[in-house]
Amino acid sequence: MWQNVVYTKAQAKFKFQQIEADPEKCAPRQVRAPFDRLREIMIDEKEKFLLDEIKKINSYGFDLHMGLVLYRILKEDFDFNERLAAQDEVWRYLSLEVFPDLVYERFGINDQRFYKGTRRIWLKSIWWYIHLSWQGTAEETFETLRNNSSDEISQLLDRSGSAGYRVELTREIMRQHKLLAGRKVPQLFRRVLKLNTARLNTIEPSLVEGGIETYVSELYSYFL
């Protein structure tokens, strides 16, 4: 199903211009199978989330909820993997052809969130946020992330090292972040990630004595 997804940046730009011209009517008339099913589930989840009137679409809570749903459905029913998740082409297609109305409702007309910003494409960013924070089950992951904010999403995606994410490392950083949530150190997460970036210049976390867990503990204890 994924090998048929061809969606260049030029196609995305063209489609985005159409959406920009009349954003209120950007919901797709028809979505190609099997992505119609994906759309159905996601839209249904959006509506369920918004049944609670206190909850807002323009919120971290919405991103977390939709991220977990997207992650689960893609994995279970769409044979999704890291190789596909790394390709902007896949996310551009989903943003502009399957969920344009959803992206518009969440962010308005924002080309970075639809297709342009490689780490900013909304669906891509919430999928990677969940993937890099995954704690074995959806429940554990939700518990680990529930008290965070949109800042954690962008910090994690932007500051996790050059030349690719170390998935085991980011998962441990998120695990310990949750454990230390009670300590009221201002901007602890941001500072830990900055220190991590500096240390990664010379050290490989999985090769330190005690491994990644020790490495991450030392990052946090530097500020505690």
Partner: protein, 314 residues
């Protein structure tokens, strides 16, 4: 990649000579029955490795690929001592590191521990398999040397923090998607469009790679002249092919000349590996394209392309 200043003694060329490293590696894939088959490798003009099997049936997306072989260290103990890379009671580790910016992932796999007692001529077998559902684009694979255990008596200039990377023994850049360093041509089928056109989507040419995501030359298969370019048969076809490519590349260069990073591109400074800037600088410095004036550029591009088409390089 930015230059890093290290306060530590590192694994450098002099150390490499002392240690006397010898490597013998090959790439392979496993078929559905678990049997290993060798992959042929050849290098493109940037020394990146392209893999294929005899009948071209291997596809990374279906089978993944592996690297296997032996690393031989003639004099491993020469890394140890008060004036060497680490002191005698330290431990050095050998690991396989892989990094793929396009896949947004990287990892490390520890292999062996070397101490001052490791025998001469030690042979370390290495085997690592990349599953098909993980990587996309390119992957940098290297064998690295790191400090596994620090000395209790580290000398000045010797690394003290375990996990510190001391150097690389060998590195490969393997291309998994794409055909190596070629021009970013996208075939389209649009009856109402001309034979070719270009599209720009780059925002930082010093970082973004020279590929169709950022700069694309669209070649239209709905145009009646398309077959002449796709498979040139006559001298006229060949000339048309060169004209198409030269025209498109000149447009790309003019577009880049107007951006604020142009000086860096010309000088080859601050350009990340594989970036638009680095490739354009390569055109200038190695292929002798003349960026001084549009007419000199037009002439030099055609001269270069004609030579390369004649010699069969393109």
């Amino acid at each position: 990649m930015a230059n890093k200043v290290s306060m530590n003694r590192l694994y450098d060329e002099a150390m490499e000579e002392l240690v006397n490293v010898d490597t013998d590696f090959h790439f392979y894939y496993k078929d559905s029955g678990g049997l290993n088959h060798p992959l042929n490798q050849y290098e493109d003009y940037e020394f990146k490795t392209l893999l294929s099997n005899e009948d071209d049936s291997w596809d990374f997306v279906e089978k993944g690929f592996g690297i296997s072989g032996n690393l031989k260290l003639g004099n491993p103990t020469s890394m140890f001592g008060p004036t060497q890379m680490v002191n005698a009671d330290a431990e050095i580790g050998i690991a396989l590191q892989w990094m793929s910016k396009q896949s947004s992932q990287r990892g490390v796999f520890p292999i062996e521990t070397i101490t001052s007692l490791t025998p001469k001529g030690i042979i370390i077998p290495i085997d690592y398999y990349f599953q098909q559902n993980k990587l996309f684009g390119e992957v940098h694979i290297s064998l690295i040397v790191y400090l596994k255990k620090a000395s209790r008596n580290s000398m000045r200039g010797q690394a003290k923090v375990p996990g510190t990377i001391l150097g690389k023994l060998i590195e490969w850049v393997v291309i998994l998607d794409g055909s190596g360093s070629t021009f970013p041509i996208v075939i389209v089928n649009e009856p109402d469009k001309p034979l070719w056109y270009v599209d720009f989507n780059y925002s930082d040419p010093l970082i973004e790679p020279f590929d169709k995501e950022y700069i694309a030359i669209y070649l239209n298969q709905a145009h009646h002249a398309f077959p002449s370019i796709q498979k040139p048969k006559t001298k006229i076809d060949e000339a048309l092919y060169i004209e198409f490519l030269a025209g498109a590349l000149q447009l790309i260069l003019h577009n880049l000349m107007e951006c604020s990073e142009w000086k860096d591109i010309q000088d080859g400074t601050n350009c990340e590996e594989g970036s638009i800037g680095q490739v354009i600088h390569y055109f200038k410095s190695t292929l002798n394209w003349d960026f001084d004036t549009p007419e000199k550029l037009a002439m030099s591009i055609r001269k270069d392309l004609e030579t390369r088409v004649k010699t069969g390089e393109m």
